[in-house]
Structure formats: C-alpha cells, structure tokens
C-alpha cells in the first residue's frame, strides 16, 4: 500500500512539473472519433516531437505560434498553429490504403492487401454505450452481422455472420481473444429454446469485458477464417485486448492510469396491451357457493381459473382472493372489495434496473517491458426484483524482451460473474406467462406483494377455491421472485503465454500456449408450498480448452516488386468438458434448507464428461506485387478424434486475390478502388462419442440396474463436413474519400452436414446421427458511408450497412424427408429440401382463389387438413443506419437498425387470446365491447366455403378466441418479425484541455447514451419481435417473453 502512494506521488510530481509550458491535446480519427495512438507530433523547424498515447493524447513543450505537424500512416498529414495550451486535431484517413487490420491468427495486415471482407470496430463501439454483453454492441454496426438478443442481466445473444449453414450444429462464429479461442457455450435446454420455460443463463462469451477491448475484427466467411480451422467456418470475431504495447510504442515510460465509470438504467418498455373490462374466471358467473356451506352471500370469483373470461369489472362487491387468509392482524380477512379494473397493473411489477461499471487500468512501460493491469466491476440489478448480476474482471498483459531477439509475453484474465434471481422465461412458470398467457386481469400487484402469511405459508391469487388455499396452477409472482430463487457463478481464467524468437531478418519462430478454463455452477430452488414440487438442484460444469501452437514465420522481399510473407505451423487443441449435477427427489424434507441431502426421497446425481482432440498442420503464403496485386494461399489439415479412424483427416485450402484498381486508374474522383476475390474450403468434425453404440443408464429401480437403448442412433461411418465458399468484393472511395463504398457477394455450400436427424419413432429411435444434408448460403453485404459536411469544427458522417442472405436446404439423405428442430403446441420448426433452414409448419387457414379466408356454416375459420409452411425464421435483409456528428468537443452518434421479414410464432399472443387477457379479447378494433351480452358476437372476415357469400354468422367471442386462433389454426399467431429500432444514441463531450489544466486529470470525457430506445416499427402485437431465449439454432418461438428493456446511462472517462 505504501508503495502505491509513493508511486502515485512520484507520478503526480512528474506530471505537475511538466505542466508549465505544455501544449496538450488529443488526436482523433475523423471518421469514428476514436483516439489515434502512435501519431507523430512534431514542432516544425525544431527537433522536438512525441507520439500520441493509446488514447490519442499527447503533450509537448511548444511556444505560441509554433506549427505542429501531425502525421500517421494512412492519414493525411495535418499542420496546426499553436494557440494556447490545448490543441485537438482530427486526422482524415485520406489514404485508406495502409489501414491495418487484425486477421486470422492475430496477424496484422494492411487491409488493402486482403482478398476477403474484414470490418473492424474500436473500443468506443463497446464502451460508449455499454451493455454487459459485448455481442450486443455489434448490433447493426457491421454489414452481414445479425445479432438477436434477449433482455438485460446476462441473457443470451445470438450472432450470425452470413446466415446459418448447419442445421443443428453451431452456427455462431468463433470468438478469439488475443489468440485464445473462447468457448461460447449456451447449455440451454430444449424447453428454454422453444419458449417453453427455464432460465436463460446466456452464452459464455458475455464474460468478455468491454473495457479491456482494444479492437474487434469481424472476419466474415470461411476465406477469412480458414486458418482457425473448422470452428471458424461460420466466420471469426477476432478481439485484441488492450496492452501496454501501444503505450510503450508511443514513447511513454513510467505509469499511466485511466478510469472509466458508467451508470445505466434499465426499464421495461414493451408490455402487452391488456384488457381491463373483465376479470378472472372461466365464465361470467360467480362460483357455485350453494355447493359448499358457510361461504356466505358475497359473490366469490373463480380463483382457481387462470384466465380472464370472468364477470365484467363493474364494481360488484366480492370476496377477493386475499380475503380468506384468517391470520391475526390480517386486515383483509373477511372483507369485500369492488370487482374493478386493477389500480396496480403489470408494469408495477417491474423496477428500474441499475448497472454500475467501474474500470481502472494501470499501464506501464520501460524500454524492455510493457504491461497493463486492469480491474473492472459491473454491479447490476435487474428489472425483476431480487435479481442481480455482478461481474469482476482482472486482466493483465505484459511483455518482456529477454534478449535482442527473444520476447516473452503473457496475457491473463480472470473473470468472475455471479447471477442471482434470473427470471424464468417462456411458457410455464414465468411471471410473464401468468400475466399474459394465463391470468386474471383484476389482480393488483400491490396486493400480491404480501405473498406470505404470518406462518410462512403461501398466499396466491390462484388458490384452488375459497376453502382451499393451496395454489392451483400459479404461485404468487412475488413468491416466485423471492422464494423460488436461483443463483449461478462462473469463474473463468483465460490467456496465453507466448515466446517469439527472431532467427534472422527472414525467419522468426513463435510458440505459445493458449488456455480457456471455467467452472460454471448453477443452483436452482423451488420452495415448499408452491405449485411445483419443492426441489433443489445444482450443477457444475467445467470446461478446459488448451491450444498449443508453434509457427515458423517468414517475410522476404523476393525482388523490389515482389514481397512474400507467410508461415508454417502446427496446432493441437484439447477440449475437456465435465458436468456434475445433483437434484433432490420427491420434494424437500426441511423447508428453506437447500441441499441435495434434503430430498424427501433422496437425490439423483448425474455426471458427464467428454474429451476431444484435434491435431493440425497449417501453412500460409501471401504475395504482394508492386503494392497493387496481392495473393494469399492457405492450407490446413486436421486430424479429429471425433471421427472414425478411416475418415478422421481432412484438408482445407483457401486462395484469395486482390487488385488495387486505383493504382492504374487515372480518375480524380476515385480516390481508392479495389477488387477482391476469395475461395475457401473448410472441413468440420462433430461432437465426441457419435460413432459407437452405447446405452443410456437410468436410475436404479430399487437395487436393480436399468438401462435403455439411446433415443439417438450413432453412426460408425461418419465423414467430415465440407463447406466450399467463394466471395467477390469491390471497395470504392470517391471524392477524396468523402464517399466510401464496400460491396461483397458470397456463395457458400456445406455438404455432408453431420447432424442428429429426427426420424419416425417407429424405427425404434427418435433420431439418428447422419451425414445428411447440403445447405447453401448466398448473399450480399453492402456498406456505404459518406461525409456530407466537413469543416474545421464540424463533421457529419452518415452510413448504412445492409445485408441480404438467402439460405436453402439443398438436399437431405435418402429416406429423410425433413429435419425437425423442435415443436411446441403442434407448431414445428423444420428444414425441408428447397426451403430455408428453420421453417415453421402448422395448420393454416383455408383460402379461396381470391385469397379470402374460408369460413364454415357455423362462422368459424376452416383449417387446412395438413400442416403447411408458415414462414421462416430467417429475415429477408438486415442492416443499420448510423450517423455521427462531431462539433468541436461534442460528438453525437445514433444508430437505427432494422430487419425485414423473418417469422415468429407468438405464444404470448396465442395464449393471451385463449385466456382472455389481451385487449382485443374485450374490445374490438372498432371499439365495441364484444363480450357485452347485448353485442351480437364476432363476425370474422371471410367467405362461406359452401355459398361463396361473405360470412355473416356471429359467434361467441370466447369461442372465436379459441377456435379461430393459434391454438387450433397455428397460422393465426404466426407473425412477421420485421422491425426498425432506434438501437443506440450517444452524446459524448471531451473536456477541452484548458479546462483540465491544473488538475491531475487528462483526457476527461463524459457521455450520455441510450440503447434500445424505441421500436419504430413492428408487425407483431404485444411483444418485441426480437426474440432470443437462447443462442441455439432454435429461434423464433416467443412464449412469455421477458419484456424488452430500454437502457439510458452516463459514462465518465478520465486519465491521470
């Protein structure tokens, strides 16, 4: 501790001493406003110069009137006269030619030399409008990246680059952090995925800390990622974290400290429109009190029914659910209150969630070494009461030159995230399910808050009857929040150790060990006294992935015009997974004691472990000719333990080429033009243990063992999967880069897809592992940006990202008619040849030739006899429109993103209509009270199937919402998932240098931001069309959706 003070004191003295005649400022990128590190700042005519630090800040001694020259590779050099002590400049990336991006295996390459599409984002994209899951920050910012997210508090975010190729396997890109392939497992169960209940624990990539990110490169498509192997066949997201290297390179020595703090507030902003005219009950009569003596004369509602087809909320005095708890001091006991619309509705159930982030980082450098140490704490409470997420990240990176030729570096990260009180999702026990899909509309949240009697017993609105307080189908929602709790913790360590040795000017060698390790522990509790059998369960998952790499790199100018760089390397990947879970049987013995030993009938324990190893040899060669022709060749061969011995090896090559057209083009309007072409083939293996036949072991019956033939049939003849793809692109910058255009077309085919194909159960198996399909993805990606206004003080940029992907299942193995992902309430999500992966099937309306719905003689819609395709989860196109406006020290950014098409099945709509909670079940579009006994009934729009006349038969509204809706005709609750969302807005203000003069602070900036501010357009009523309950391939089932949240926050960054 004393040392720290000494250090700080020394640092402050140094800083103060240097302040006297300083000129300080910040150099930023005019395009994205980000600080530019490593910019050379020189006083013209004097032998004085410095480089900007990692934030783009600099300070040097200069006199008023001196001219400073700012220069940086890839940017137009700028000269500015010193006028005072502060001087900020914005450098134009005039010559984009030399922009450097991080590509596969962390190799930095000039972007112009690449034959495939790469887009990069800087730290600001992740920290200025922070969310706890970095994947969400990619939304709308990069063409061809489709992100689907749940709500806050550590829920899932699914990301797809250029669509999905695998049917049941992983379609998400590989995440690589400082060379470490990161696990992004989801572990969600089938019910969770199809909106049928469970907790959303999110996917594991959310462990990444936004504050530590230096840059993110998105490598779309296999050509970019061939070198990462099969896992990158869906593309790769290559993340570099901050280190002390930039600081060292800028010439700084000693220590630098920076702080970044933020607070964000989350609020629920999409809730269904409910009806408020009719209360709970199966019908409009009060309960039959005459069947039970001594219940008195006051009307008794139907507490046990979880729908709202009950009596009109007309103020009749009734015994509400909470008037039957005969406990001392219970003022409601025996009281009657009016049967009227609630004064405390669903929105009152939710609170404002608060997320506070604090980050401090220390950077240091000497001539031989550099390091960065960073600590981040995220402390978040959810919109659901009693829910929280707490994440601590400690990250260290350091490098040391051991000798002139040998450098050692280490990067280590420790992340601990703790979740508690995550809300249940989906149809089933979730509170949204009991508010929308089922439930009684007259209930008051305020009154339900008192969820426990004096003796600890449960008070629920859904008591079985006046005389029977036991819960029928639903727990009190507050009981659900406070008694049935869960918590989880994941401790994760990842990082690498790297040795680089320079053999000579041509050859260097690198060896490294990369590791990702975590232990993920989950505990779930169900209290005694609720609807569900009380229980306690815990599960622990442990994952370790180790990669050992060695590369021989070479770079050589073969002639003045021809340059060659490349490497040959080897990689071994070992992945170990273990899971141990235990749960109580037969309920709990002792209330409130949550241990597995407390099971009334004992407990059950299960364990699973699996191991996989892949050995690889890989090589790459890149040629550059006259700095305008470029060609890359890569090859990789894998040997995977998961495939049968005779088929366990597969080779995959790639070749890319690019040509800088503008070098040979003499058109002043064209400042840069490039065409590129890439081709790649990527092999893929499968999960462990899919080749040999084994038995599934059940729990013992008494002392007898019990085992069964597994539901899925394994396959000893599996072959590796193969993806072939090509892409072509054009980059064009016009009018001194004021207009920037990047276009890509790609076409990719995956064959011999390995998956677990559902088969007719009469075969004795419900599925079989087969090489069973061929899929195709083709599409375009377009990004267009322009700078319409640019003056010394003002710059306005506007841009759009757009992507369209067409996906098709080309063929399936013989005898297989279709692939079933999942099904719920008769709606299935399938893949059939000729259709996109993920097509909904269910009963549809019958239509006449003119497109009118057909109605039977009783006034009901006719349903098709067989199931029909109802739409696909895949959108027609996606994208985002962004704008930035920079005026002096103010910077404004806004992002609108959109999705056109895609289909979702909404069980909130389906069951909300069935159970009479939603607005339209009481008041129709014309404002008629359709349940009024005097109202004639619902006449559905359509044509009588036998007469051809317009339907005129009125039907009872309850029957209408039963028979004419998704419960019977699935198409009725199938919706278009298009949306336009105001995704992000932020306003940042960098304090001018003269304002922070005389303080120990530098680079002070403050910003306000908002995320998910508004849904500007959608076509599905009552819910948010963006549905994600897991990161799996099963998407598009909305059930009891957690309400969408809006985030508004403030950020403060400063350095010492």
């Amino acid at each position: 501790m004393r040392n720290l003070f000494l250090l700080l004191a020394t640092f402050c003295m140094t800083a103060t001493a240097a302040l006297a005649q300083n000129v300080a400022g910040k150099v930023t990128d005019a395009t994205n406003g980000g600080g530019l590190p490593g910019v050379s700042v020189v006083v013209e005519g004097a032998n004085v110069g410095v480089m900007t630090d990692m934030n783009g800040a600099y300070s040097l001694k200069a006199a008023s009137g001196d001219v400073l020259m700012f220069s940086f590779v890839g940017y137009n050099t700028m000269r500015k006269e010193v006028d005072g002590s502060a001087l900020d400049v914005r450098l134009e990336s005039g010559v984009a030619l030399d922009e450097v991006v991080v590509t596969a295996l962390g190799v930095s390459r000039e972007k112009k030399s690449l034959g495939y599409s790469v887009q990069e984002l800087g730290n600001d994209a992740f920290t200025d409008a922070k969310t706890e899951n970095v994947v969400r920050s990619l939304t709308g910012k990069i063409a061809g990246v489709q992100v689907t997210s749940g709500t806050s508090l550590g829920s899932s975010s699914k990301i797809l680059l250029r669509g999905a190729s695998s049917i049941t396997g992983n379609n998400q890109p590989l995440f690589v952090v400082d060379g470490v392939p990161m696990d992004n497992a989801d572990y969600s169960g089938g019910d969770q995925q199809r909106g049928a209940g469970g907790y959303d624990y999110g996917n594991a990539i959310q462990d990444l800390n936004p504050d530590d990110i230096e840059s993110v490169s998105v490598l779309k498509g296999p050509a970019a990622a061939a070198l990462y192997g099969a896992r990158a066949s869906n593309g790769a997201i290559v993340i570099s974290t901050k280190s002390g290297k930039g600081y060292q390179a800028s010439g700084k020595r000693g220590l630098g400290i920076s702080f970044n703090s933020g607070v964000a507030f989350n609020n629920v902003y999409v809730l269904p429109d409910y009806q408020n005219s009719y209360g709970g009950g199966a019908g409009t009569s009060w309960i039959n009190q005459n069947l039970v003596d001594s219940l008195g004369d006051t009307p008794i509602p139907d507490y046990g029914y979880d729908g709202s087809w009950g009596p009109a909320l007309d103020g009749t005095m009734v015994r509400h659910w909470d008037s039957w708890y005969d406990y001392e001091g219970d003022a409601d006991f025996g009281q009657s209150r009016p049967w009227s619309a609630t004064d405390s509705d669903v929105e009152d159930f939710f609170q404002t969630g608060v997320a506070i982030t604090n980050n401090v980082s220390v950077t240091g450098a000497t001539d031989e070494s550099a390091f960065r140490l960073s600590y981040t704490n995220l402390d978040q409470t959810g919109v659901y009461e009693n829910s929280s997420l707490d994440r601590n990240t400690l990250s260290f990176s350091g490098s040391q030159k051991v000798s002139e030729d040998l450098e050692a570096s280490v990067n280590a990260n420790y992340v601990q995230s703790q979740g508690a009180g995550r809300p249940l999702t989906g149809y089933g026990e979730s509170v949204m399910s009991q508010f929308t899909q089922w439930g009684q509309r007259q209930l008051s949240m305020d009154r339900m808050r008192n969820y426990k009697n004096a003796d600890g017993s449960h008070r629920t609105w859904n008591r079985n009857s006046a005389t029977d307080p036991s819960p029928h189908y639903w727990d009190n929602p507050y009981w659900e929040r406070y008694e049935n709790t869960q918590n989880d913790q994941r401790d994760r360590v990842f990082g690498n150790i790297t040795l680089k040795y320079k053999i000579n000017d041509v050859f260097s060698i690198m060896g490294r060990a990369l590791s990702d390790f975590y232990i993920d522990r989950r505990e779930e509790r169900i209290a005694i006294g609720g609807v569900r059998e009380s229980s306690y369960s815990e599960s622990t998952r442990q994952l370790q992935e180790t990669n050992l790499d060695a590369y021989l790199n070479f770079t050589d100018d073969l002639s003045d015009d021809l340059n060659l760089t490349g490497f040959v390397g080897v990689n071994r990947r070992i992945r170990n997974f273990k899971r141990l879970n235990a749960y109580t049987l037969g309920g709990l013995n002792t209330p409130g004691l949550y241990t597995v030993n407390n099971g009334a009938d004992g407990y059950e324990v299960g364990d699973v472990s699996n191991t996989k190893q892949v050995n690889s040899v890989l090589a790459s060669a890149s040629f550059g000719y006259k700095r305008k022709f470029y060609a890359d060749f890569t090859g990789r061969s894998d040997w995977s333990s998961t495939l049968p011995a005779e088929n366990n090896s597969y080779f995959y090559p790639s070749a890319t080429a690019s040509y800088i057209l503008s070098e040979d083009l003499d058109m002043p309007a064209v400042s840069f033009a490039k065409v590129r072409f890439g081709w790649a083939q990527v092999g893929n293996d499968t999960d462990p243990y899919r080749t040999a036949t084994t038995y599934a072991v059940n729990s013992n019956f008494g002392n007898s063992g019990s085992a069964t033939v597994p539901n899925s049939q394994n396959n000893p003849n599996l072959r590796p999967e193969k993806t072939s793809s090509w892409e072509a692109g054009l980059e064009l910058n016009l009018f001194l880069d004021k207009v920037r255009f990047d276009f890509t077309y790609y076409n990719s085919t995956t064959e011999d897809l390995i998956f677990n194909v559902p088969v007719s159960a009469s075969s004795g198996y419900s599925s079989a592992v087969l090489n069973a399909g061929k899929t195709s993805n083709k599409g375009i990606e377009l990004s267009l940006a322009a700078t319409p206004v640019q003056t010394d003080n003002l710059r306005w940029d506007i841009g759009v990202n757009f992507a369209k992907n067409t996906n098709e299942l080309l063929e399936l193995a013989e005898g297989i008619e279709n692939i079933r992902y999942t099904s719920l309430f008769g709606v299935t999500l399938e893949a059939r040849p000729g259709q996109p992966l993920g097509t909904f099937y269910g009963y549809d309306f019958q239509y006449d030739d003119a497109g009118n719905k057909l109605v039977d003689d009783d006034g009901y819609y006719l349903s098709t006899e067989t199931v029909q395709p109802l739409g696909t989860i895949l959108p027609n196109f996606t994208g985002g429109v962004f704008t930035t406006l920079d005026y002096k020290n103010l910077s404004f950014y806004a992002l609108v993103d959109f999705q056109d098409g895609g289909s979702l099945h909404s069980y909130s709509n389906q069951w909300g209509k069935y159970s009479g909670t939603l607005a339209e079940t009481a008041i129709d579009a014309n404002g008629n009270d359709i349940r009024d006994p005097n109202f004639a009934g619902v006449v559905v729009e359509g044509v009588n199937a036998s007469t051809g006349e317009a339907n005129a038969v009125a039907i009872n509204p309850q029957s209408h919402f039963f028979y004419n809706q998704g419960y019977v005709i699935h198409a009725a609750d199938q919706y278009d998932a298009s949306f336009v969302k105001l995704r992000e807005m932020r306003l940042d203000y960098n304090l001018p240098a003269d304002m922070v003069d005389g303080t120990p602070f530098s680079n002070v900036s403050i910003g306000v931001f908002g995320r998910n501010l508004a849904i500007l357009h959608k076509n599905v009523p009552h819910v948010d069309p963006e549905v994600a309950t897991s990161a799996s391939n099963v998407q598009g089932f909305e059930g009891g959706q957690l309400p969408a949240e809006r985030t508004i926050g403030v950020n403060l960054k400063f350095g010492l």
């Binding site: 060698i509 159960a761 004795g764």
Partner: protein, 491 residues
C-alpha cells in the same frame, strides 16, 4: 547454434503434434455410457417405462381414464370432450416405440446374435420369450388406440426410417405370432434377470402368455370368430392362466421418487381430475364397496358426488374441488402397482369365452363372473367375504338377474373392475358396447360425439414418415379420424 536449436525444437514439435492420432480411439470412447449392459437392465427399464407411460398424465389420465369415463376433468377439459393434443400423440408414440419396444427388441437381438454371451443372464430362449410377450402386450395396446401401426418394418433404426403401417388384422396376427413364438421359445432354463414383474418365474410368464392370448383372441371374436376361438381355446388348454391375484402381472412401484407411481407423482403438483359422475353414479347404484376405495367423499358434503363428465372449461372450473369426490387415497398412493394383467380380467374373459361356447374354461360363465368381481374387490383390499357375497347376491349384480344380455352384464362389471387400466377399459367398452357411457355434458369438440373409436395419428408420422402414414390411412379403410372404426370393432 542457438538458432538451430530452435529450428530443431520446432521440427520436433511438429512431428510430435501430428504423428499422434493413435490415442484417438481412447479419446473418443464414451466414458459416460457403457458399450454393453446386462439385458436385465434393459428388461427392468422396459417394464417400468411401459407402465410409466400407461399411467402418465396425458396418455393414461387425460386419455385412458377419461375415455373410460372413470375420471372427469376439473379444468382444461379438452380431452374429456375428445379434443386430443397433437403433442401428446407424438410423445406417446415415441415413448412406446423408441423406448420399451426398442429395448425389448434389443434383448431379442442380443440373445439371437450374441447368444453365448447373453446366456448368463437367463436362458436365451426365456429372455427372448419375455421380451416378445411384453412387445405383444404393447402392440395390442397401440393398435387398439390407433388401428394400423408399423410392426413388421418397425424397430430397424436407420435401415428403415419410413416403416410401412400394417393393417390391424396383420398386427393382430403378428401379436399372436409373438405370443406363440414366446411359448415355443421357453426352454426350461433360467428365467431372465431384471424381471421386476415375475422375478424370472417362467411358469408365471406362461400364464401371462395364455391370458394375453385369450384377451387378443377375444378382441378378434366378433370379426374373425373362427380364428379367435382357435386361439382362445389354445390359450385355455392346459389351465395355465392368471386366475389368482398372486399371479397378476404388475409392476411393483415403490413409494419414493423416481420409482413411485406416475399418478402419485403427478398429484404432487397438479390435481386436474376428479371422480366422474358416470362411475360414481354406477357404483352408488350398485352399492358397490369399491366406491369408497376408488374415490373419497366430497369434502364439502361428505357424500359421493361425481364431477359431471364432459363439462366445458367454464363449467368444469366453476365446480369447486371440495364439492366433488376426489380420487381415493389408495389410488394416489406412491406404491400402487402398475397393472399389466390381473386375474379379474382373465375371469371376465373366461366368462365371455363360456358364453361364446369356447371349450376349456374352468368354470361356467356365472362362476367366472363372480370370481372376477371377487378378485377385483380383493385386489383393492376389500376382503370381507360376507360383504362381497352380499354384493354378488344383489339382483342388479347377480349374473342371472342383472340387467341386459351377457355382453352388457360382463361389460359393465368388467368396466368397473378395469379401474386404473383406462385404455383396456376403453377398448372393451368399444368392443362390448357396454356399459353405455354418458355423452359429453357440454358437447363434444371433435369426432361425432360418440366415444372415439381411435385416435388420429401423431403429427410426427405425417411429417417424418409420410409414406408410412399414407399406408396407415389406406389400411384404415377410412379417414384418419376419431370416429373411424377399427377392424375388430364391428358393432
């Protein structure tokens, strides 16, 4: 020098990395699941899973017990009004075919292909026999629920993922083939290990085989009387039938999860069913002592009141649970046995065989009728002989004086005795057309309003096996509808 060392090291690493795939077989050997198990484990699993599914809340309670009108819904009454959820059809189909039927097939395959290794778990012939008998039992239940089903092409895995459906007549012949094959396969050696039903006692399995054959024959008796009589008489020949409760084929559930009775498990968290008025009214009218075992009096009135069968949701929900009789304590017990075949059933079959003039019944029709009722009461713990005799002596009960023809007498009493065997009760109601069950009080939601003749095929077969599904609909000789009569259901 220094640099050469690095190069050499690099080369060595490269060789070490790639040369090493010889561990792959070990690495890819599943440590979590065994490559071989005792066939006894498969038998235990199959015996339990059949009964788990038969007593499951959807297949057993919502369908079997409600179609027999033993129970009524007190909420969500769709199934009691003949609207069946497609999801539960999918699930039940899968839970029989891809689970117990396949496990039993595996026992047969192992004892055929790897006889020597399997001989230590019971003689090959006896293991095969028991597996075939349980398959026969399941196939009969499945074909009686749907009609034509896959049998000859079923259970072949990826070799045939689109099995053709066999006509119900073919299935019935196949079932008889399985039973006869099993009887022939029994070889006097040791019984199978893992047998929770009879503990490997092959004499009991012989009784089971003959009793099941009698039931199969009787189901065919209206449509194929000659073949039925031949099969029935061969079953009765020799007297090896389940004639006493001690010989019942039942699965011995234990009063602790996960080995407790499924109805007990379901009741822990839900109470969706109450006594149906059909059954309460019949038992009350007969002064039947089983009323107090099958059901409890309504809490509110302390009298036996059945919930009206086939109410719509609103009306079902308006009836407080306290106001109607709930299921009895014995019914909800965790250790209630799951019934494959009981002696009461055999005696009812024998009574009918006697009426039909089949030879070999030990007693006359009346004797078997009285024995059946007596055994049913005794099984439910009603052991007071005087009370039973008093019951049998009642004019409404006594075989000679009870109302109706022999079909109606036997049908009604058999229906009452088949409590907790909903699917068998439903099948016999369809075949004997007795007793007359109630129409749904608030109308039916699907079918023609009569007790359904069958279920519609699961949606899964339409989408995963469309050719098989087509062959099934063709073999049905009518629509894939609830009211399409099965082959044996000629009246």
């Amino acid at each position: 020098m220094n640099k050469n060392i690095f190069l050499l090291a690099g080369l060595a690493i490269a060789v070490a990395f790639t040369g090493c795939t010889k561990d792959f077989e070990d690495i890819n050997t599943n440590p979590n699941e065994p490559a071989s198990v005792s066939p006894g484990f498969l038998l235990t699993s199959a015996q339990k899973r059949i009964m788990d599914e038969m007593n499951d809340s959807f297949w057993g309670s919502r369908r079997g017990m409600q179609l027999a009108q033993h129970w009524s819904s007190n909420q969500y009454s769709n199934e009691s009004r003949y609207q069946f959820r497609t999801e539960t059809s999918n699930g039940s189909w899968r839970d029989f075919y891809a689970a117990p039927l396949q496990d039993l097939q595996q026992i047969i395959n192992l004892n055929t292909d790897d006889a020597e290794a399997m001989a230590g778990y019971g003689s090959n012939g006896n293991q095969i026999a028991v597996a075939q008998l349980l398959q026969a039992w399941v196939y009969q239940m499945l074909t009686d629920a749907w009609g034509p089903i896959p049998m000859t092409e079923a259970l072949q895995g990826v070799d045939n993922t689109s099995p053709t459906f066999d006509s119900q007549e073919a299935v019935y012949n196949g079932i008889l083939g399985l039973i006869n094959g099993a009887l022939a396969s029994m070889d006097g050696g040791a019984g199978p290990q893992g047998d929770q039903v009879y503990g490997g006692d092959m004499a009991s399995w012989t009784m089971f085989a003959n009793s099941l054959k009698l039931r199969v024959a009787m189901r065919m008796s209206d449509v194929s009387p000659t073949a039925a009589q031949a099969a029935g008489e061969s079953a009765l020949d020799g007297g090896m039938i389940i004639a006493a409760n001690e010989s019942n084929a039942q699965f011995p559930y234990i009063d602790a999860a996960p080995n407790n009775h499924p109805v007990n498990e379901d009741y822990k968290t839900r109470n969706d069913f109450a006594a149906s008025n059909t059954m309460v009214d019949w038992l009350s009218a007969m002064n039947d002592p089983r009323l107090g075992v099958y059901f409890n009096p309504a809490v509110a009135t302390d009298t036996y009141v059945g919930e009206v069968y086939g109410l719509d949701e609103a009306n079902a929900a308006l009836t407080p649970n306290d106001a109607v009789s709930q299921r009895g304590d014995a019914v909800l017990a965790g250790n209630l046995p799951g019934i494959y075949f009981d002696a009461a059933q055999t005696h009812f079959l024998c009574a009918e065989a006697a009426e039909r003039g089949w030879s070999g019944t030990p007693l006359d029709a009346e004797g078997h009728y009285n024995a059946a009722i007596t055994l049913s009461m005794q099984w439910w713990g009603l052991t007071d002989a005087d009370a039973i005799n008093a019951y049998l002596a009642q004019a409404d009960v006594a075989y000679t004086t009870a109302a109706g023809d022999w079909k109606q007498k036997i049908g009604s009493q058999k229906w009452a005795a088949l409590y907790m065997q909903g699917h068998e009760a439903w099948a016999e109601v369809r075949r004997l057309d007795a007793p007359a069950l109630n129409a749904c009080a608030d109308g039916h939601l699907a079918g023609d309003g009569n007790v359904p003749s069958r279920f519609e095929y699961p949606l899964d077969e339409q989408t995963l096996n469309s050719s098989g599904y087509g062959s099934g609909v063709a073999a049905l000789g009518g629509d894939d509808a609830l009211e399409t009569k099965l082959w044996w259901d000629v009246n």
